[in-house]
Symmetry: C2
Subunit: 270 residues, 2 copies
Protein backbone atom coordinates (compact mmCIF):
# COMPACT_ATOMS: atom_id res chain seq x y z
CA UNK A 1 0.00 0.00 0.00
CA UNK A 2 1.39 3.41 -0.87
CA UNK A 3 1.28 6.43 1.40
CA UNK A 4 -1.52 8.18 -0.47
CA UNK A 5 -3.81 5.18 -0.11
CA UNK A 6 -3.00 4.81 3.59
CA UNK A 7 -3.78 8.47 4.22
CA UNK A 8 -7.05 8.17 2.28
CA UNK A 9 -8.08 5.20 4.42
CA UNK A 10 -7.30 7.11 7.62
CA UNK A 11 -9.20 10.17 6.49
CA UNK A 12 -12.25 8.36 5.24
CA UNK A 13 -12.53 5.98 8.20
CA UNK A 14 -11.61 8.73 10.71
CA UNK A 15 -9.44 6.13 12.38
CA UNK A 16 -5.79 5.34 13.03
CA UNK A 17 -6.65 2.00 14.56
CA UNK A 18 -4.38 -0.98 14.05
CA UNK A 19 -5.86 -4.21 15.43
CA UNK A 20 -3.14 -6.47 16.77
CA UNK A 21 -3.80 -10.11 15.97
CA UNK A 22 -1.74 -11.49 18.87
CA UNK A 23 -3.86 -14.60 18.57
CA UNK A 24 -2.58 -16.72 21.42
CA UNK A 25 -3.78 -20.31 21.08
CA UNK A 26 -4.14 -20.45 24.88
CA UNK A 27 -6.48 -17.48 24.98
CA UNK A 28 -8.83 -17.90 22.05
CA UNK A 29 -12.28 -19.30 22.81
CA UNK A 30 -12.13 -23.02 23.60
CA UNK A 31 -14.82 -23.98 21.08
CA UNK A 32 -12.43 -23.06 18.23
CA UNK A 33 -9.78 -25.54 19.29
CA UNK A 34 -11.46 -28.50 17.62
CA UNK A 35 -11.05 -26.90 14.20
CA UNK A 36 -8.13 -27.57 11.90
CA UNK A 37 -7.18 -23.89 11.74
CA UNK A 38 -8.28 -22.37 15.06
CA UNK A 39 -6.17 -19.22 14.83
CA UNK A 40 -7.40 -18.51 11.34
CA UNK A 41 -11.04 -19.07 12.35
CA UNK A 42 -10.55 -16.72 15.26
CA UNK A 43 -8.82 -14.08 13.14
CA UNK A 44 -11.45 -14.30 10.42
CA UNK A 45 -14.24 -13.49 12.84
CA UNK A 46 -12.25 -10.71 14.50
CA UNK A 47 -11.42 -9.19 11.12
CA UNK A 48 -15.02 -9.34 9.91
CA UNK A 49 -16.16 -7.62 13.10
CA UNK A 50 -13.53 -4.86 13.10
CA UNK A 51 -12.76 -4.16 9.43
CA UNK A 52 -15.02 -1.12 9.31
CA UNK A 53 -13.15 0.62 12.14
CA UNK A 54 -9.57 -0.47 11.56
CA UNK A 55 -7.14 0.90 8.98
CA UNK A 56 -4.53 -1.69 9.75
CA UNK A 57 -3.93 -5.21 11.10
CA UNK A 58 -0.73 -6.31 12.75
CA UNK A 59 0.13 -9.99 13.11
CA UNK A 60 2.56 -10.76 15.85
CA UNK A 61 4.48 -13.54 14.13
CA UNK A 62 5.55 -15.20 17.40
CA UNK A 63 2.05 -16.50 18.10
CA UNK A 64 2.02 -18.28 14.74
CA UNK A 65 5.61 -19.50 14.66
CA UNK A 66 5.25 -21.08 18.07
CA UNK A 67 2.79 -23.59 16.55
CA UNK A 68 5.23 -24.72 13.87
CA UNK A 69 4.25 -25.15 10.19
CA UNK A 70 0.50 -25.15 10.90
CA UNK A 71 0.91 -21.79 12.63
CA UNK A 72 2.88 -20.40 9.77
CA UNK A 73 0.15 -21.57 7.41
CA UNK A 74 -2.50 -19.75 9.43
CA UNK A 75 -0.46 -16.55 9.40
CA UNK A 76 -0.37 -16.77 5.62
CA UNK A 77 -4.11 -17.52 5.42
CA UNK A 78 -4.86 -14.54 7.64
CA UNK A 79 -2.66 -12.20 5.59
CA UNK A 80 -4.50 -13.32 2.46
CA UNK A 81 -7.90 -12.88 4.07
CA UNK A 82 -7.41 -9.23 5.04
CA UNK A 83 -8.70 -6.89 2.34
CA UNK A 84 -6.31 -4.75 0.31
CA UNK A 85 -7.92 -1.68 1.87
CA UNK A 86 -6.17 -2.49 5.14
CA UNK A 87 -2.50 -1.89 5.82
CA UNK A 88 -1.04 -5.21 6.94
CA UNK A 89 1.94 -5.46 9.26
CA UNK A 90 4.05 -8.50 10.09
CA UNK A 91 5.29 -7.70 13.57
CA UNK A 92 8.38 -9.82 13.21
CA UNK A 93 11.12 -7.54 14.57
CA UNK A 94 13.56 -9.05 12.12
CA UNK A 95 16.87 -7.65 11.01
CA UNK A 96 19.59 -9.41 9.11
CA UNK A 97 21.93 -8.65 6.28
CA UNK A 98 22.53 -9.32 2.62
CA UNK A 99 20.98 -12.47 1.25
CA UNK A 100 19.38 -13.27 4.63
CA UNK A 101 17.63 -9.93 4.68
CA UNK A 102 16.53 -10.58 1.10
CA UNK A 103 15.01 -13.88 2.20
CA UNK A 104 13.08 -12.25 5.04
CA UNK A 105 11.78 -9.56 2.70
CA UNK A 106 10.75 -12.26 0.26
CA UNK A 107 8.99 -14.22 3.02
CA UNK A 108 6.87 -11.30 4.18
CA UNK A 109 6.41 -9.34 0.94
CA UNK A 110 6.17 -12.11 -1.67
CA UNK A 111 5.33 -15.48 -0.08
CA UNK A 112 2.92 -13.55 2.11
CA UNK A 113 1.62 -10.22 0.88
CA UNK A 114 2.21 -7.97 3.91
CA UNK A 115 2.55 -4.21 3.44
CA UNK A 116 5.09 -3.77 6.21
CA UNK A 117 7.49 -5.57 8.54
CA UNK A 118 8.80 -4.40 11.90
CA UNK A 119 12.59 -4.39 12.07
CA UNK A 120 15.30 -3.95 14.67
CA UNK A 121 17.85 -1.24 13.77
CA UNK A 122 20.79 -2.83 15.61
CA UNK A 123 22.54 -4.19 12.52
CA UNK A 124 22.23 -0.92 10.59
CA UNK A 125 21.35 0.18 7.08
CA UNK A 126 22.18 -2.99 5.17
CA UNK A 127 19.71 -4.90 7.36
CA UNK A 128 16.90 -2.47 6.43
CA UNK A 129 17.71 -1.96 2.73
CA UNK A 130 16.30 -5.29 1.48
CA UNK A 131 12.84 -4.24 2.71
CA UNK A 132 13.05 -0.78 1.15
CA UNK A 133 13.80 -2.30 -2.23
CA UNK A 134 10.12 -3.20 -2.62
CA UNK A 135 7.82 -0.54 -4.08
CA UNK A 136 4.87 0.37 -1.84
CA UNK A 137 6.17 -1.83 0.98
CA UNK A 138 7.30 -0.48 4.33
CA UNK A 139 10.02 -0.92 6.92
CA UNK A 140 8.85 -0.16 10.46
CA UNK A 141 11.96 0.38 12.57
CA UNK A 142 12.03 0.04 16.36
CA UNK A 143 12.82 3.42 17.92
CA UNK A 144 11.70 3.60 21.56
CA UNK A 145 9.62 0.64 22.71
CA UNK A 146 7.09 0.45 25.52
CA UNK A 147 8.74 -2.22 27.69
CA UNK A 148 10.90 -1.90 30.77
CA UNK A 149 14.01 -3.02 28.86
CA UNK A 150 13.59 0.01 26.55
CA UNK A 151 15.80 1.83 29.04
CA UNK A 152 18.66 -0.68 28.88
CA UNK A 153 20.15 0.57 25.62
CA UNK A 154 17.67 2.79 23.72
CA UNK A 155 18.22 5.73 26.08
CA UNK A 156 22.01 5.57 26.25
CA UNK A 157 23.26 9.10 25.63
CA UNK A 158 26.01 9.56 23.08
CA UNK A 159 28.96 11.94 23.19
CA UNK A 160 27.00 14.38 21.05
CA UNK A 161 24.12 14.35 23.56
CA UNK A 162 21.65 12.27 21.61
CA UNK A 163 19.81 9.28 22.96
CA UNK A 164 20.26 6.08 20.97
CA UNK A 165 16.66 6.06 19.73
CA UNK A 166 17.10 9.63 18.46
CA UNK A 167 20.22 8.57 16.59
CA UNK A 168 18.25 5.67 15.13
CA UNK A 169 15.44 7.91 13.86
CA UNK A 170 17.70 10.70 12.64
CA UNK A 171 19.97 8.41 10.70
CA UNK A 172 17.51 5.87 9.35
CA UNK A 173 14.80 8.29 8.20
CA UNK A 174 17.20 9.22 5.39
CA UNK A 175 17.45 5.64 4.10
CA UNK A 176 14.22 5.65 2.14
CA UNK A 177 10.69 6.95 1.72
CA UNK A 178 8.60 4.19 3.24
CA UNK A 179 9.89 4.11 6.78
CA UNK A 180 7.85 4.20 9.97
CA UNK A 181 9.04 4.04 13.57
CA UNK A 182 7.78 2.06 16.56
CA UNK A 183 7.24 4.32 19.53
CA UNK A 184 5.61 3.14 22.76
CA UNK A 185 2.45 5.01 23.77
CA UNK A 186 3.82 6.06 27.16
CA UNK A 187 6.80 7.94 25.69
CA UNK A 188 5.38 11.48 25.69
CA UNK A 189 8.78 13.21 25.63
CA UNK A 190 9.95 10.98 22.81
CA UNK A 191 6.86 11.81 20.74
CA UNK A 192 7.54 15.52 20.99
CA UNK A 193 11.20 15.18 20.07
CA UNK A 194 10.72 12.66 17.29
CA UNK A 195 7.81 14.51 15.66
CA UNK A 196 10.04 17.56 15.52
CA UNK A 197 12.96 15.54 14.15
CA UNK A 198 10.76 13.76 11.65
CA UNK A 199 7.63 15.71 10.67
CA UNK A 200 6.54 13.24 8.00
CA UNK A 201 7.27 9.69 9.11
CA UNK A 202 4.45 7.61 10.51
CA UNK A 203 4.74 6.16 14.00
CA UNK A 204 3.40 2.75 14.93
CA UNK A 205 2.26 3.08 18.53
CA UNK A 206 1.70 0.05 20.75
CA UNK A 207 0.82 0.32 24.40
CA UNK A 208 -2.45 2.27 24.38
CA UNK A 209 -4.81 0.75 26.92
CA UNK A 210 -3.36 -2.38 28.52
CA UNK A 211 0.14 -0.88 28.80
CA UNK A 212 -1.05 2.48 30.15
CA UNK A 213 -0.71 4.89 27.22
CA UNK A 214 -3.34 7.59 26.82
CA UNK A 215 -4.88 7.91 23.35
CA UNK A 216 -5.54 11.63 23.54
CA UNK A 217 -1.98 12.49 24.61
CA UNK A 218 -0.52 10.21 21.95
CA UNK A 219 -2.60 11.78 19.18
CA UNK A 220 -1.82 15.29 20.37
CA UNK A 221 1.94 14.83 20.19
CA UNK A 222 2.29 12.30 17.40
CA UNK A 223 -0.16 13.43 14.72
CA UNK A 224 0.65 15.29 11.56
CA UNK A 225 -1.54 16.47 8.68
CA UNK A 226 -1.68 12.95 7.21
CA UNK A 227 -2.62 11.36 10.49
CA UNK A 228 0.97 10.31 10.99
CA UNK A 229 0.44 7.35 13.24
CA UNK A 230 -1.13 3.95 13.64
CA UNK A 231 -2.29 3.12 17.15
CA UNK A 232 -2.19 -0.57 17.92
CA UNK A 233 -4.56 -2.31 20.27
CA UNK A 234 -4.33 -6.07 20.66
CA UNK A 235 -5.65 -7.79 23.77
CA UNK A 236 -8.10 -5.00 24.60
CA UNK A 237 -9.94 -5.79 21.38
CA UNK A 238 -9.37 -9.41 20.45
CA UNK A 239 -9.81 -10.81 23.95
CA UNK A 240 -12.61 -8.46 25.00
CA UNK A 241 -14.67 -11.58 25.60
CA UNK A 242 -13.66 -15.20 25.89
CA UNK A 243 -17.19 -16.42 25.19
CA UNK A 244 -19.02 -17.13 21.97
CA UNK A 245 -19.66 -13.38 21.60
CA UNK A 246 -15.90 -12.71 21.24
CA UNK A 247 -16.20 -11.25 17.74
CA UNK A 248 -19.16 -9.04 18.62
CA UNK A 249 -17.36 -7.70 21.69
CA UNK A 250 -14.19 -7.14 19.67
CA UNK A 251 -16.22 -5.16 17.14
CA UNK A 252 -17.70 -3.08 19.95
CA UNK A 253 -14.28 -2.26 21.40
CA UNK A 254 -12.92 -1.36 17.97
CA UNK A 255 -15.94 0.86 17.36
CA UNK A 256 -15.41 2.65 20.70
CA UNK A 257 -11.73 3.25 19.97
CA UNK A 258 -12.57 4.55 16.50
CA UNK A 259 -15.12 6.94 18.00
CA UNK A 260 -12.48 8.31 20.38
CA UNK A 261 -10.06 8.63 17.48
CA UNK A 262 -12.65 10.37 15.32
CA UNK A 263 -13.25 12.99 18.02
CA UNK A 264 -9.54 13.67 18.49
CA UNK A 265 -8.75 13.72 14.78
CA UNK A 266 -11.60 16.20 14.27
CA UNK A 267 -10.27 18.36 17.11
CA UNK A 268 -6.77 18.28 15.64
CA UNK A 269 -8.03 19.12 12.16
CA UNK A 270 -6.67 15.96 10.55
CA UNK B 1 23.14 -28.65 25.89
CA UNK B 2 24.94 -27.46 29.01
CA UNK B 3 28.33 -25.77 29.02
CA UNK B 4 30.21 -28.77 30.26
CA UNK B 5 28.96 -30.93 27.40
CA UNK B 6 29.77 -28.23 24.84
CA UNK B 7 33.30 -27.89 26.18
CA UNK B 8 33.75 -31.67 26.11
CA UNK B 9 32.65 -31.78 22.47
CA UNK B 10 35.10 -29.01 21.57
CA UNK B 11 37.97 -30.68 23.38
CA UNK B 12 37.38 -34.16 22.06
CA UNK B 13 36.75 -33.09 18.46
CA UNK B 14 39.53 -30.46 18.59
CA UNK B 15 37.15 -28.19 16.73
CA UNK B 16 35.13 -25.01 17.26
CA UNK B 17 33.44 -25.38 13.90
CA UNK B 18 29.83 -24.35 13.47
CA UNK B 19 28.44 -25.28 10.06
CA UNK B 20 25.94 -22.68 8.86
CA UNK B 21 23.00 -24.27 7.08
CA UNK B 22 22.12 -21.20 5.00
CA UNK B 23 20.44 -23.60 2.62
CA UNK B 24 19.29 -21.29 -0.14
CA UNK B 25 16.79 -23.04 -2.41
CA UNK B 26 18.33 -21.19 -5.37
CA UNK B 27 21.81 -22.51 -4.67
CA UNK B 28 21.35 -26.14 -3.70
CA UNK B 29 22.07 -28.75 -6.41
CA UNK B 30 19.33 -28.78 -9.03
CA UNK B 31 18.75 -32.54 -8.81
CA UNK B 32 17.30 -32.08 -5.30
CA UNK B 33 14.55 -29.75 -6.46
CA UNK B 34 12.27 -32.57 -7.60
CA UNK B 35 12.03 -33.91 -4.05
CA UNK B 36 9.27 -32.98 -1.63
CA UNK B 37 11.76 -31.69 0.96
CA UNK B 38 14.75 -30.44 -1.01
CA UNK B 39 16.26 -28.35 1.80
CA UNK B 40 16.02 -31.22 4.24
CA UNK B 41 17.58 -33.66 1.76
CA UNK B 42 20.39 -31.20 1.19
CA UNK B 43 20.92 -30.59 4.91
CA UNK B 44 20.83 -34.29 5.71
CA UNK B 45 23.68 -35.04 3.33
CA UNK B 46 25.67 -32.02 4.51
CA UNK B 47 25.19 -33.02 8.14
CA UNK B 48 26.20 -36.63 7.51
CA UNK B 49 29.35 -35.45 5.73
CA UNK B 50 30.41 -32.88 8.34
CA UNK B 51 29.17 -34.23 11.70
CA UNK B 52 32.58 -35.63 12.61
CA UNK B 53 34.27 -32.22 12.33
CA UNK B 54 31.56 -29.84 13.52
CA UNK B 55 30.58 -29.15 17.12
CA UNK B 56 27.64 -27.02 16.10
CA UNK B 57 25.08 -26.35 13.37
CA UNK B 58 23.42 -23.01 12.80
CA UNK B 59 20.22 -22.72 10.79
CA UNK B 60 19.59 -19.34 9.31
CA UNK B 61 15.82 -19.22 9.71
CA UNK B 62 15.31 -16.78 6.82
CA UNK B 63 16.10 -19.41 4.21
CA UNK B 64 13.36 -21.64 5.60
CA UNK B 65 10.74 -19.00 6.37
CA UNK B 66 10.97 -17.61 2.86
CA UNK B 67 9.45 -20.87 1.57
CA UNK B 68 6.41 -20.64 3.83
CA UNK B 69 5.05 -23.60 5.85
CA UNK B 70 6.99 -26.19 3.86
CA UNK B 71 10.20 -24.32 4.67
CA UNK B 72 9.31 -24.14 8.33
CA UNK B 73 8.64 -27.87 8.28
CA UNK B 74 12.08 -28.55 6.83
CA UNK B 75 13.73 -26.38 9.48
CA UNK B 76 12.02 -28.51 12.11
CA UNK B 77 13.00 -31.77 10.36
CA UNK B 78 16.61 -30.61 10.17
CA UNK B 79 16.71 -29.62 13.84
CA UNK B 80 15.39 -33.06 14.74
CA UNK B 81 17.89 -34.81 12.49
CA UNK B 82 20.98 -33.25 14.07
CA UNK B 83 22.38 -35.45 16.86
CA UNK B 84 22.23 -34.32 20.47
CA UNK B 85 26.04 -34.23 20.46
CA UNK B 86 25.91 -31.10 18.34
CA UNK B 87 25.04 -27.65 19.64
CA UNK B 88 22.15 -26.39 17.49
CA UNK B 89 21.53 -22.70 16.86
CA UNK B 90 18.47 -21.04 15.36
CA UNK B 91 19.94 -17.92 13.78
CA UNK B 92 16.72 -15.99 14.05
CA UNK B 93 17.88 -12.64 15.43
CA UNK B 94 14.62 -12.31 17.30
CA UNK B 95 13.84 -10.08 20.23
CA UNK B 96 10.47 -9.25 21.67
CA UNK B 97 8.93 -8.87 25.06
CA UNK B 98 6.66 -10.57 27.56
CA UNK B 99 4.29 -13.12 26.12
CA UNK B 100 5.70 -12.60 22.60
CA UNK B 101 9.19 -13.44 23.78
CA UNK B 102 7.74 -16.47 25.54
CA UNK B 103 6.18 -17.59 22.27
CA UNK B 104 9.46 -17.28 20.39
CA UNK B 105 11.28 -19.20 23.11
CA UNK B 106 8.61 -21.88 22.91
CA UNK B 107 8.90 -22.04 19.11
CA UNK B 108 12.64 -22.60 19.12
CA UNK B 109 13.16 -24.49 22.38
CA UNK B 110 10.02 -26.64 22.59
CA UNK B 111 8.30 -26.96 19.20
CA UNK B 112 11.78 -27.33 17.77
CA UNK B 113 14.55 -28.53 20.04
CA UNK B 114 17.28 -25.95 19.38
CA UNK B 115 19.97 -25.33 22.01
CA UNK B 116 20.29 -21.63 21.25
CA UNK B 117 18.70 -18.67 19.48
CA UNK B 118 20.38 -15.51 18.25
CA UNK B 119 18.77 -12.34 19.62
CA UNK B 120 18.95 -8.62 19.07
CA UNK B 121 19.65 -6.64 22.26
CA UNK B 122 17.79 -3.47 21.19
CA UNK B 123 14.71 -4.05 23.36
CA UNK B 124 16.72 -4.86 26.48
CA UNK B 125 16.60 -7.39 29.29
CA UNK B 126 12.93 -8.35 29.17
CA UNK B 127 13.34 -9.40 25.53
CA UNK B 128 16.18 -11.79 26.49
CA UNK B 129 14.77 -13.15 29.76
CA UNK B 130 12.23 -15.57 28.21
CA UNK B 131 15.09 -17.45 26.55
CA UNK B 132 17.16 -17.61 29.73
CA UNK B 133 14.28 -19.19 31.60
CA UNK B 134 15.05 -22.53 29.93
CA UNK B 135 17.62 -24.76 31.59
CA UNK B 136 20.55 -25.71 29.34
CA UNK B 137 19.32 -23.43 26.55
CA UNK B 138 21.22 -20.39 25.35
CA UNK B 139 20.68 -16.79 24.30
CA UNK B 140 23.21 -15.59 21.73
CA UNK B 141 23.09 -11.79 21.73
CA UNK B 142 24.28 -9.63 18.84
CA UNK B 143 27.27 -7.56 19.94
CA UNK B 144 29.35 -6.35 16.97
CA UNK B 145 28.33 -7.85 13.65
CA UNK B 146 30.42 -8.33 10.52
CA UNK B 147 28.38 -6.21 8.10
CA UNK B 148 28.90 -2.64 6.90
CA UNK B 149 25.87 -1.42 8.86
CA UNK B 150 27.57 -2.58 12.08
CA UNK B 151 29.04 0.93 12.18
CA UNK B 152 25.69 2.73 12.00
CA UNK B 153 24.75 2.25 15.66
CA UNK B 154 26.89 -0.44 17.32
CA UNK B 155 29.95 1.82 17.50
CA UNK B 156 28.21 4.95 18.78
CA UNK B 157 30.26 6.19 21.72
CA UNK B 158 28.41 7.01 24.91
CA UNK B 159 29.05 9.84 27.35
CA UNK B 160 31.04 7.45 29.52
CA UNK B 161 33.28 6.56 26.56
CA UNK B 162 31.94 3.13 25.81
CA UNK B 163 30.87 1.90 22.40
CA UNK B 164 27.30 0.61 22.20
CA UNK B 165 28.41 -2.99 21.66
CA UNK B 166 30.58 -2.78 24.78
CA UNK B 167 27.60 -1.50 26.77
CA UNK B 168 25.58 -4.41 25.39
CA UNK B 169 28.12 -7.01 26.47
CA UNK B 170 28.89 -5.43 29.83
CA UNK B 171 25.26 -5.09 30.81
CA UNK B 172 23.77 -8.25 29.38
CA UNK B 173 26.48 -10.69 30.52
CA UNK B 174 25.04 -10.21 34.01
CA UNK B 175 21.55 -11.33 33.00
CA UNK B 176 22.20 -15.06 33.14
CA UNK B 177 24.66 -17.92 32.80
CA UNK B 178 23.96 -19.19 29.33
CA UNK B 179 24.72 -16.14 27.22
CA UNK B 180 26.97 -15.96 24.17
CA UNK B 181 27.74 -12.97 21.95
CA UNK B 182 27.87 -12.60 18.18
CA UNK B 183 31.10 -10.98 17.11
CA UNK B 184 32.15 -10.65 13.46
CA UNK B 185 35.45 -12.32 12.55
CA UNK B 186 37.06 -9.12 11.25
CA UNK B 187 36.67 -7.23 14.56
CA UNK B 188 40.15 -7.81 16.02
CA UNK B 189 40.01 -4.83 18.39
CA UNK B 190 36.57 -5.83 19.61
CA UNK B 191 37.78 -9.38 20.34
CA UNK B 192 40.57 -8.08 22.56
CA UNK B 193 38.31 -5.71 24.46
CA UNK B 194 35.41 -8.09 24.85
CA UNK B 195 37.53 -11.05 25.94
CA UNK B 196 38.95 -8.83 28.66
CA UNK B 197 35.49 -7.60 29.63
CA UNK B 198 34.02 -11.07 29.54
CA UNK B 199 36.59 -13.83 30.15
CA UNK B 200 34.03 -16.64 30.23
CA UNK B 201 31.29 -16.01 27.69
CA UNK B 202 31.43 -17.83 24.39
CA UNK B 203 31.52 -15.83 21.14
CA UNK B 204 29.73 -16.95 18.00
CA UNK B 205 31.92 -15.77 15.16
CA UNK B 206 30.61 -15.46 11.61
CA UNK B 207 32.68 -14.04 8.80
CA UNK B 208 35.67 -16.37 8.64
CA UNK B 209 36.52 -17.10 5.01
CA UNK B 210 34.00 -15.50 2.62
CA UNK B 211 33.79 -12.29 4.65
CA UNK B 212 37.56 -11.93 5.13
CA UNK B 213 38.14 -12.93 8.76
CA UNK B 214 41.32 -14.82 9.56
CA UNK B 215 40.88 -17.98 11.64
CA UNK B 216 44.26 -17.79 13.36
CA UNK B 217 43.77 -14.18 14.47
CA UNK B 218 40.25 -14.89 15.68
CA UNK B 219 41.34 -17.87 17.76
CA UNK B 220 44.30 -15.99 19.20
CA UNK B 221 42.17 -13.14 20.53
CA UNK B 222 38.89 -14.89 21.26
CA UNK B 223 39.82 -18.19 22.87
CA UNK B 224 39.70 -19.02 26.54
CA UNK B 225 40.50 -22.21 28.43
CA UNK B 226 37.16 -23.77 27.41
CA UNK B 227 37.57 -22.92 23.75
CA UNK B 228 35.33 -19.93 24.22
CA UNK B 229 34.06 -19.56 20.71
CA UNK B 230 32.20 -21.15 17.85
CA UNK B 231 33.42 -20.21 14.39
CA UNK B 232 30.73 -20.32 11.78
CA UNK B 233 31.31 -21.15 8.14
CA UNK B 234 28.32 -21.38 5.80
CA UNK B 235 28.76 -20.94 2.08
CA UNK B 236 32.42 -21.98 2.09
CA UNK B 237 31.33 -25.43 3.25
CA UNK B 238 27.80 -26.11 2.09
CA UNK B 239 28.25 -24.70 -1.42
CA UNK B 240 31.80 -25.97 -1.93
CA UNK B 241 30.46 -27.81 -4.95
CA UNK B 242 27.20 -27.43 -6.85
CA UNK B 243 27.51 -30.87 -8.41
CA UNK B 244 26.49 -34.30 -7.20
CA UNK B 245 29.65 -34.40 -5.05
CA UNK B 246 28.36 -31.47 -2.93
CA UNK B 247 28.29 -33.46 0.31
CA UNK B 248 31.72 -34.98 -0.24
CA UNK B 249 33.21 -31.55 -0.97
CA UNK B 250 31.46 -30.06 2.06
CA UNK B 251 32.95 -32.81 4.21
CA UNK B 252 36.38 -32.05 2.78
CA UNK B 253 36.09 -28.34 3.56
CA UNK B 254 34.88 -29.04 7.08
CA UNK B 255 37.75 -31.46 7.60
CA UNK B 256 40.28 -28.84 6.41
CA UNK B 257 38.85 -26.20 8.75
CA UNK B 258 38.89 -28.63 11.65
CA UNK B 259 42.55 -29.44 10.91
CA UNK B 260 43.41 -25.72 11.03
CA UNK B 261 41.45 -25.39 14.25
CA UNK B 262 43.15 -28.42 15.79
CA UNK B 263 46.58 -26.93 15.10
CA UNK B 264 45.67 -23.55 16.60
CA UNK B 265 43.91 -25.04 19.63
CA UNK B 266 46.97 -27.19 20.28
CA UNK B 267 49.24 -24.15 19.98
CA UNK B 268 47.05 -22.19 22.37
CA UNK B 269 46.92 -25.03 24.88
CA UNK B 270 43.11 -25.39 24.76
Amino acid sequence: MNRQKLVEEIKSKRSVLCVGLDSDINKIPKQLLTEKYPLFSFNKEIIDATAEYAVSYKLNTAFYESLGPIGWEQMQMTAEYISSNHFTIADAKRGDIGNTGDQYAKAFFETMNFDAVTLSPYMGKDSIDPFLAYKDKWAIILAHTSNKGAFDFQTIESKNSKLLYEEVVEKSMAWGENIMFVLGATKTEAFKKLRELSPNNFFLVPGVGAQGGDLKTVLLHAHNKDGGLLVNSSRGIIFASSGSDFAEQAGMKAFQLREEMRTELDNLGV
